[in-house]
Every structure is written in structure tokens, then in C-alpha cells.
């Protein structure tokens, strides 16, 4: 009899290398205010927010199978909560970001109770209706500018930091920090017991259910956590823009179409996908920006081509070919005792 024992491991050689690369990249990015100009900082901060939004959507759609086209509801909710708290309540903008998250999570519970009644693709449109309702309600709030929106008062902006440069550094680090926080939370969730359940649901929902996973509960948890994160990022985005209006805050193109294309092109259902996708997206945007609406058309076409011929996205192609993973997420069994004769 061989009495071999096994243990579950996450790390592989590629993930060791991946973690080192990510650590180095983080140090370089954290030091960006010392090597980049203002333009660069703005671009990077925007890139971070898209990484965060796409990662959250990826968690929702790629893992939990909740394909929402209404996440702009929470981007806009976060934005309006921030402006409301800052302008009407006199709360510090950065504190407001961290308050917006939990409020959005609470709001998302009744929304889930309604939209979860719709299955599959109808769920997608249902979430869109909710986002429309949020947008229409926001345009009824006259103290926040109604349909035309409102700017953050200059006094609030000046009070944030002693100089303009200091404020820009502050916002940059905030964007980097929040994005790392969101990504770390997703990685921790995926490495937990719930993460195993989520991966099982991603691979086969019926099989997951028959193995005793409470699928609806896990989905609800993911939906609420995603709302939490999306609202915080939304609040941050509009703190950087300094102005909010119903049409920009609840824009389906900006906060859902782009985010979906990023995730699909990068690789849905993998943590690395949204990061790769965002880099490609920003590269395309910088090179094709002159094309205007044609640019969106090209993005749509690329997403369709990827979905039909490489449904796991670019990272999926790489991961399958070389067996790479940038973060230690996959579980595999490793023998820890040698077979005895």
C-alpha cells in the first residue's frame, strides 16, 4: 500500500514570476509622480479605474455568470453619493468615497431581489432598466443640478491639498491604491472557499448546485460586493472629473460597453484578462482616438471577433498554450510523501 498524502497548492513557477513582476510594476507605478508628467499621471489614473471596473465586471459576469449591462447604475450611484455628501453634507471627498461603497452595497440588495427574478439574458436587460431608473431619478435631484449636473465647488477642491500638484499626486495614489485594494479583494475572494464555489459555478452551474453549493447565495454575495467596489470607483472617477451629470455618470458606453469589451478582449473568467484588456484598450485609444465614433465601431468588431474565434480572450490563449498564471489562483494537488514499497 502506498500511503501517499497530498496537499493543495496554488502557486506555480509562472505565478512566482508573475507575482515578482507585479510587485516590481507596483513599485514603479507608485513612484510615477517622480518620473511621469501630469499627462502621464492622469492617463495612468484613468487606466487604473478601468482595470478596477473591468475586474469587478469580470468577477460578476465571468465567475458568477451574472452578465450585467447595468453596472453604470453603481458607477453613477457612487458619483452622486460623493457629490451629495460633499456638497450637501460637507464630508471630506476621500471619506465620501469610502462611505459610498457600503451605501451602494445596501442599495444593491433590493435591486438584486428584483433583477434576480430574470434569467440569463433577460437579467442583463433588467439591470439596464435599473440603471435607467437611477439615471432618471438623478436628473430629478434639483439640488445636484437636475438634468444638467453640477461641478464640485472650488472651495472643496482647494481644501483637498495644499497645492494643485499635491492634489494630483493624492488622486493618483488614491486611484492606484483603490485599484490594488479591489484587485486584492478579488484575489482573496477567489482563493477562499467562496472562490472555489465561484469557479465551480463558472465551469458548470448545475454541477456546482448538485455538489451542495448554494448558487443563488454565492451570486448574491458577488453582486453586492461588486456594487460596493463599483460605487467606490465611480465616486473616485467623478472626483477626478470634478463634475457630474446624469448622462455621464450613468453612461452605458463609458462604464459598461468599454468595460465589457476590455474584459472580453483580455480574457473573461480570468483575473489577468481585464488588466491585459485595459492595456490593449488604452493603446488602441491613444492610436485611434482621431477616428471618433469609428473607434467604438472597431472596438465592437474586435470584441465580436474575439468572442467568436477566441472566446477566452488573449490571456486565455496565452494561458492555455503555456499554462501560465500570473497570480497563484488555480488549485492543484501536490504529493508530499513518496510512495513506500
Amino acid at each position: 500500500m502506498s500511503d501517499s498524502a497530498y496537499k493543495v497548492e496554488h502557486a506555480t513557477r509562472s505565478s512566482h514570476i508573475g507575482v515578482i513582476i507585479i510587485a516590481v510594476a507596483l513599485v514603479v507605478l507608485a513612484a510615477a509622480p517622480f518620473w511621469g508628467d501630469r499627462q502621464m499621471l492622469r492617463l495612468l489614473a484613468e487606466l487604473f479605474t478601468f482595470v478596477a471596473l473591468a475586474s469587478l465586471w469580470n468577477l460578476l459576469a465571468g465567475y458568477a455568470g451574472l452578465v450585467s449591462v447595468g453596472q453604470q447604475a453603481y458607477v453613477g450611484l457612487g458619483a452622486y453619493l460623493l457629490f451629495g455628501m460633499v456638497i450637501l453634507g460637507g464630508i471630506h471627498p476621500i471619506a465620501a468615497i469610502f462611505i459610498a461603497g457600503p451605501i451602494a452595497a445596501v442599495v444593491s440588495i433590493p435591486v438584486a431581489a428584483l433583477t434576480f427574478r430574470l434569467r440569463g439574458a433577460y437579467f442583463a436587460i433588467g439591470t439596464w432598466v435599473v440603471a435607467e431608473v437611477f439615471r432618471l431619478l438623478a436628473s430629478q435631484i434639483s439640488v445636484l443640478g437636475g438634468g444638467s449636473g453640477i461641478s464640485l465647488p472650488a472651495s472643496v477642491i482647494i481644501a483637498m491639498a495644499p497645492s494643485r500638484q499635491a492634489r494630483e499626486f493624492e488622486l493618483y495614489w488614491l486611484a492606484l491604491g483603490l485599484t490594488v485594494l479591489v484587485l486584492a479583494a478579488i484575489v482573496m475572494l477567489l482563493r477562499s472557499r467562496h472562490g472555489l464555489a465561484l469557479t465551480a459555478i463558472r465551469d458548470n452551474e448545475v454541477a456546482a448546485q448538485s455538489n451542495g453549493i448554494d448558487v443563488t447565495r454565492v451570486k448574491l454575495i458577488v453582486y453586492v460586493l461588486t456594487a460596493f467596489g463599483t460605487a467606490m470607483i465611480g465616486a473616485l472617477i467623478f472626483l477626478m472629473k470634478l463634475r457630474v451629470s446624469p448622462d455621464t455618470a450613468f453612461s452605458v458606453n463609458d462604464w459598461t460597453a468599454f468595460v465589457i469589451f476590455i474584459t472580453v478582449i483580455g480574457g473573461i473568467g480570468r483575473i489577468e484578462g481585464p488588466i491585459i484588456g485595459t492595456i490593449i484598450f488604452f493603446f488602441l485609444r491613444q492610436t485611434l482616438a482621431d477616428l471618433g465614433s469609428l473607434y467604438l465601431l472597431i472596438m465592437g468588431a474586435v470584441a465580436i471577433v474575439v468572442m467568436l474565434w477566441a472566446p477566452k480572450g488573449l490571456w486565455g490563449l496565452i494561458a492555455e498554450r503555456f499554462g501560465w498564471q500570473a497570480l497563484p489562483l488555480q488549485r492543484h494537488l501536490v504529493s508530499i510523501t513518496k510512495d513506500k514499497p
Binding site: G65, G120, Y122, V129, V133, I260, L296, G300, M307
Partner: protein, 289 residues
Amino acid sequence: MTEWLNVILQGVLIGGLYAMFAAGLSLIFGVMRLVNIAHGDLIVLAAYVALTVTDTLGIGPLTSLILVVPAMALIGYAMQRLLLNRTLGDDLLPPLLVTFGLSIIIQNGLLEVFTADSRKLQAGAVEIMTYQVSPGIWIGLLPLIQFIVAVAVIAGLQVLFYRTALGRAFRATSDDQSVAQLMGLDTRHVFAMAMALSLAIIAIAGVFLAVRSNFDPAIGPARLIFGFEAVIIGGLGSMWGTLAGGIILGVSQAIGAQIDPGWQLLAGHIVFLVILAIRPQGLFPKVSG
């Protein structure tokens, strides 16, 4: 009192248009469980096709249907055969994302070709003709025609579904795709026919939309949402249900608008959400989603 009766009557008539938005959506969901996110943008595309046809040939919008309907049906057949058939399967994501991509492509393509200017189709004298039903209650000829056409479209679909060979093929593939295939049906063709039919209805809806009000490339998604709400209110899979759903939505919006112009759309969405909360299967359900 008569003011409110007028409001409700206008709501009912516009409900016919919403029912046409919904019928095409419901049809393809019934046959192949596909939800077409580009549905609203295809309605707007039909409006622009009609605009081009009326401008070049100098014919009226209603006459242009003779060309617009087959053109859209052809687009639908090709779109399903070349693109959407590849996405069908157990996985929900591909059809959703591909139709979402199509929606963005159509919107921005129209923007490129026709600019963001708002347009309208001119139907001439028929647009302003009205009849007095009883003192204080007026019916416009055009909304009336639109409503009658909507009822005819839904009745026609009902007959097609239950009385013709094509309808039998639709129902068979809807019930069980693999058995239908074993019985000798080419499901790829059946699906493409369903999409062609859906786009033929879209063509009619698009022309009436374009005659009724201004349109621009960005209004598609809202039409998708109206159609979707009418489907869910009416109950999945029921054709007459979509008419009821469209009317309920139209009347809710009309009443909302009468109270406060800012509440027109909101009232419709809220009625939809309330029905979703208290009767998620819709008012006249036939299949489960």
C-alpha cells in the same frame, strides 16, 4: 375627465408601437432563447433605411414598407446565418456579447453615415388627420393606423405560429432542437427564418416610429428597453401578452407624462418593476425563461 380619457387613449395607441417592438424580441427568444441586445438599434436602422428609400425614390413612408420590410428581413437572415448561429449553445455569454457588439457597431455606423442630427419621416396629410370619437375625445388617424397594424402583425404571427408549416418548425425547434433536427429540420435555416421575420416586424415598427417622432442614432437602446418591458409585463412567450404589455407600458408612460413631463419614462419603468416584484412571470405567461 375627458382629458384623462384622452391621455389613456393616446397611451393605448402608442402601446401598439411598443407591442411591435416586443413581438420581434419575443419571437426570437421563443424560437432560439436568444435575447437580441441590438434589437432597438435595428429598429433605428430600419428607420434610416426608410429615410434613404423615401428620399431617393420620393415615395411616402408607408409605401416604402414594400422595400424596407424585405430589405430588413434579408439583413436578419444573413445576420443569423453568418454570425448569430455561431453563438448559440449552452453558454449564455456569446450571443449576449455579440449582439451587444452589434448594437455598438450599428449605433456608431449610423452616426458616421447620417450624423447625430435628428430626423423624421414625413407622411403628409395623414399625419394631421384626426377624428372626434365623442365630445372632447380625439383620435389621430396615424396612431390609429399604427395600432391596427400592430394588432394585425400580432394576429398574423399567431396564425403563422399555429397554422403554417414554418410555424410548426418554429414550435418544434423551440420545444427540442435536437429532436427537430432528427425530424429533418435544418435548424440553422429555421433560426435564420425566425430572425428574418423578427426584422420584418422591426421594419414596420421602425417606419411607424420614424413617422411619429424624431429619431437619431442614439435612441435604439431605449426602444429595446420598451420592447423588453412589454415582453416581461405581458409574460414570456405569449404574443397577445406582448400587446397587453405594450398597452400597459404606453398608458403608464402617458399618465406619468401627464403628471410631470419628467416622469414619463420613469412611470413606465416603475410599473415594469412593480409587476416584476409582484408577478415575475408576467400577466399572461406561456413559457418559463
